[in-house]
């Protein structure tokens, strides 16, 4: 289906910290194991302010859950410890809180690993062990955690109601396997273990704001992939194949590409310029097999008797791993083998964490790269002017070819009112195309162009706007100290990556 690649924004699956109401506990041993391994996390986060990028948003404090696994490691959710300013952990039945640090964080699958330097913390703890396989439908599982306001461990019970691909709301764009549990789950304790027969099969992480009795856990394969990924001392993330495809159920389509009746596969209609497949797979290829599994006309493969989308093969792989495809190209089968190492994709708009927003200010005009976080601030301010352009580029810039010759879309995000910029409001939220005739690739280039002393006037052109913005270079320079003082700005710019 067209558009099966990342579209933005994914309808909000409201992520919240989930609380587990106390219920009668059946297995005392599970509770005992939980007391020795499931810990409470105290955290204060503070994120950069993407509407006024020279300052921070209001700090938030909260609590969550984590659990100890082999090697004195603590697993929890990335969304708990994202943008962390202050982090402590506490064991069940222990009043002491220990400082902790984030060792690894995986925002694309909402997982994090914490470390506690004080060895005393691990006294009388017992790491939880992972199960060998996922439970099946209707298997009874227990979820352990610390409900909001509660100091003591609680347990709730439910059954596995589905195993499916679902959006991970923390990053906003990623989809992975999810363990759906019918336990009544409420805001309060993300990061707790999902236990089946005494062993970990998942990690509770998000719920549905609009449905009762649906809770989501990050299942075993995702946890295991994370642990394997960080074995080399850093988290790389999921490889992205970067193809969009059309199922080939239609016989006319199949005969058009001269596929025989016994061949099945999917027709690639788009290859992402930042995906691992970009130099290997061509638009118009029919993907016949992945790593030896035959791909059906609807894009599924059969693994261990179960029918799953072929992307599941990629879900278990790491960066640098090789992948094999058999494709149908120019009426012949071709074998492809290539490594899954993606370049970073500046046009994939994930939620940003642990980073300060980039910006540049001159003459009271604040420029910043297009980010998902900035788009969220726009929606909060009631869909203002020029927002369609931003929405369009965030969804279609790659497919429609607008990404070429640039590394980011630079947006005029704010006007800090001053006589020098009084008549510039209608350019707000416009995307910079060029300055003084020079195409703008990134924020650094914009900063250089607008600080150049070669021009008396800077002429800024915006994508899709026919009117040009004219800045009197000298007047802007003179105005800046006053503007910075008025609005409490200490630095003219944060060029981030392009610095």
């Amino acid at each position: 289906m067209l558009g099966s690649i990342h579209k933005f924004p994914v309808p909000a699956l409201m992520a919240f910290m989930i609380a587990i109401p106390s219920t009668a506990v059946r297995g005392a041993s599970v509770l005992e194991a939980g007391r020795a391994s499931v810990i409470k996390i105290y955290v204060t986060n503070s994120k950069g302010d993407f509407a006024m990028p020279w300052q921070m948003d209001r700090p938030n404090s909260g609590t969550g859950t984590g659990f100890i696994i082999k090697g004195r490691r603590i697993l929890t959710n990335a969304h708990l410890v994202a943008d962390v300013q202050f982090l402590q952990v506490q064991k069940s039945d222990d009043s002491r809180r220990y400082p902790a640090t984030v060792k690894f964080v995986a925002h694309d699958c909402d997982l994090a690993m914490l470390e506690v330097a004080d060895a005393e913390f691990f006294e009388e703890t017992r790491p939880l062990r992972f199960a060998n396989a996922l439970p099946t439908l209707n298997d009874e599982v227990l979820v352990l955690g610390y409900p909001l306001g509660g100091e003591r461990l609680s347990v709730t019970k439910g059954v596995v109601s589905r195993l499916s691909y679902t959006s991970y709301s923390h990053s906003g764009v990623d989809q992975h396997l999810v363990l759906q549990v019918d336990a009544a789950i409420n805001p309060g304790n993300s990061g707790g273990p999902v236990i089946f027969r005494g062993k970990v099969v998942g990690l509770a992480f998000q719920g549905l704001a609009w449905a009762d009795n649906i809770g989501y856990g990050i299942p075993l394969p995702v946890l295991e992939r994370f642990l394997k990924d960080v074995e080399d001392g850093k988290y790389d993330g999921y490889p992205e194949l970067g193809v969009a495809y059309l199922g080939m159920r239609n016989p006319a389509l199949r005969s058009h590409v001269k596929l025989s009746d016994d061949q099945t596969g999917v027709l690639v209609h788009y290859v992402d310029p930042f995906g691992a497949g970009k130099d290997y797979i061509l638009s118009g290829d029919v993907l016949l097999e992945i790593d030896g599994y035959a791909i059906d006309n609807d894009g599924t493969i059969k693994i261990d008797g179960e029918r799953v989308v072929f992307a599941e093969v990629l879900e278990r792989l790491q960066w640098g791993d090789e992948i094999n495809f058999k494709v149908w190209r120019h009426n012949a089968a071709v074998d492809l083998q290539f490594p899954l190492d993606n370049p970073t994709d500046p046009f994939l708009y994930r939620n940003l964490y642990d980073t300060q927003p980039e910006y540049f200010i001159t003459g009271g005009l604040v420029f910043s790269p297009l980010t998902r976080d900035y788009m969220r601030t726009l929606k909060r301010s009631g869909n203002p002017q020029n927002i369609n352009q931003i929405q369009y580029l965030s969804e279609y810039s790659k497919i429609d070819g607008h990404y070429e010759n640039r590394d980011a879309f630079i947006v005029l995000i704010r006007r800090l009112a001053h006589p020098v910029n009084t008549y510039m409001n209608h350019f707000l939220h416009g995307i910079v195309e060029s300055v003084n005739g020079q195409k703008i690739r990134d924020l650094r280039m914009l900063s250089d162009a607008l600080q150049s002393t070669d021009n008396e006037y800077h002429v800024v052109r915006f994508l899709g706007l026919d009117e040009m913005l004219v800045i009197d270079a000298e007047a802007a320079r003179r105005a800046d100290p006053e503007i910075f003082a008025t609005y409490g700005i200490r630095h003219r710019e944060n060029l981030g990556k392009s610095q």
Partner: protein, 490 residues
């Protein structure tokens, strides 16, 4: 002293109008009853439920009634009814102009009693006392006193156009649109919109009513003029210096000129317009109108110009002052890549193998309801706002696949909707005319490329005729194809 007498006389005459119907005579007021039905933009062979709209009109000749365009939009039946009478008389719409929100209805001669038509009044002034006529619950004429509170350019209520209108402050609520406004027995205007909160009625008035009536009498109907460019006030001192007009007082900046119009050939972005037809423009785009005082430039174009007329214009381009001649255009909507289709006219379409193909227009997008801009696919909206960055020619449209009616022939394609079509049977398509032409040449359409991809959706050419029959039967599609007469370019 003279002034005092004049006012006293006016008050006296007004009170007569308000109290004694017989003495004011019959102003030729009618109720207009409209049954209307709108097309379904997604399934363009389908119509929505029919509904009724009531308003008013006024006889401007023995068998012609003036009312608003909006009232009769998408009509299936128009009837008029005289006050104090129950009989409904069928009327036809002679002409309707959505850019002026005016329409003329015609009734068969002899079907109504002879009513002396109302003469058209010259302009009014702010503070003039006027009478709005409407029909009350007892089907009797009601005269409502009102005064002109503002005369200026404002937006039409049901179309994205602006026009010089009168605003009236009325004593009583105005029930429906189309209510005539009369002063001294002559028609000043008709009510387009009324806000019961502020008691303000917005009225289409002079000079548009006399011009419209005159224009309608000579075919082909020309309609109001358009300048063919977009402009903005030029206030920013830095920009004025940059454009070399810092030592001049007024002037506005041209933002863009519409391709396919005379302005598109003559004007450039960042030209500064200083005078228009001898009128000096200030930096907000206002001029001194001999009838109404300070007014916006658009009135010089729509209220005083007409299509085809040449206007001398003074501009500053790159620091040089020059005189140019601009020829005014008519309706620009047919030139647009994505037309507004304010009148919600049925779109041309083709249903082939269950694929529903039509041109994109704003009516299609607006059908998503309130806040439609945030609901419509951002790429379609992008084509509307900026032409998709395409260098399009007049007559180009965005051909879209609005959806797929499931059938065995299109299995696997059911989820496609709101996609832009770039080629059909391997040929580039610029508009529905191209699509129809290819369909006629090839007999059927079997290959389709969507914008942003280079693969084709393929339908079985041996099965398509049967599939079309089956689809038209099972989905009750009376016509799989609707093609209008070729449009005439202004």
């Amino acid at each position: 002293m003279k002034q005092c007498i004049a006012i006293l006389m006016m008050v006296a005459s007004l009170s007569r109008i308000g109290t004694a119907q017989e003495e004011i005579g019959d102003p030729g007021l009618v109720g207009v009853l409209v049954t209307h039905q709108q097309q379904n933009p997604y399934l363009p062979w389908k119509s929505g439920k029919s509904a009724n709209r009531n308003g008013y009109g006024i006889f401007i000749s023995s068998n012609r009634v003036l009312t608003t365009e909006h009232l009769v939009r998408n009509h299936t039946l128009v009837e008029i009814r005289r006050p104090r009478e129950g009989e409904k008389i069928t009327a036809t719409v002679e002409i309707a102009d959505h850019r002026l929100n005016l329409a003329i209805l015609q009734v068969e001669a002899g079907t109504t009693h002879a009513i002396p038509p109302v003469p058209l009044a010259p302009r009014s002034n702010v503070d003039d006392q006027v009478t709005i006529f409407q029909i009350d619950a007892d089907n009797d004429i009601q005269a409502v006193e009102a005064s002109v509170s503002r005369i200026g350019v404002s937006h039409l209520s049901d179309a994205p156009y602006s026009l010089l209108t009168y605003q009236l402050l009325s004593d009583l609520n105005i029930r429906n649109e189309g209510a005539p406004v009369v002063k001294n027995g002559a028609l000043i205007g008709i009510v387009m919109a009324y806000d019961s909160g502020t008691r303000i009625a917005v009225v289409i008035s002079h000079p548009f009513i006399p011009r419209f009536v005159e224009d309608a009498a000579t075919l082909p109907y020309k309609g109001p003029a358009s300048a063919g460019f977009v402009w903005r006030a030029l206030l920013d001192p830095a920009k004025r210096r940059f454009l070399g007009v810092d030592d001049i007082d007024g002037g506005i900046q041209v933002i863009s000129a519409t391709k396919g119009t005379p302005s598109g050939d003559v004007l450039r972005s960042s030209d500064v317009i200083l005078t228009w037809g001898g009128h000096t423009l200030d930096n907000l785009g206002y001029y001194e109108d001999s009838d109404y005082g300070r007014l916006e430039l658009s009135h010089l174009v729509k209220g005083r110009g007409s299509p085809g007329e040449t206007v001398p214009v003074t501009i500053v381009r790159e620091g040089d002052t020059m005189e140019i001649d601009l020829v005014l255009s008519g309706d620009l909507d047919p030139l647009a890549l994505v037309p507004e289709n304010v009148r919600a006219e049925r779109a041309e379409y083709l249903v082939e193998g269950g694929l529903i193909i039509r041109d994109l227009d704003v009516f299609f997008m607006r059908a998503r309801g309130g806040d439609w801009r945030s609901k419509v696919d951002s790429r379609l909206l992008h084509f509307y706002h900026s032409g998709g960055g395409l260098d399009h020619e007049p007559g180009d449209r965005v051909v879209i696949l609005t959806g797929v009616l499931p059938d065995p022939i299109n299995d696997g394609y059911h989820n496609f909707r709101n996609e832009v079509l770039t080629t059909v049977n391997g040929q580039h398509v610029r508009n529905m005319t191209d699509v129809f032409r290819i369909a006629d040449e090839k007999g059927s359409l079997t290959r389709f490329t969507l914008y942003g991809t280079d693969i084709e959706l393929v339908l079985d050419c041996n099965k398509i005729t049967d599939a079309n029959l089956r689809l038209s039967e099972s989905y009750r599609i009376p016509e799989l194809r609707f093609e209008k007469q070729p449009p005439t370019m202004p």
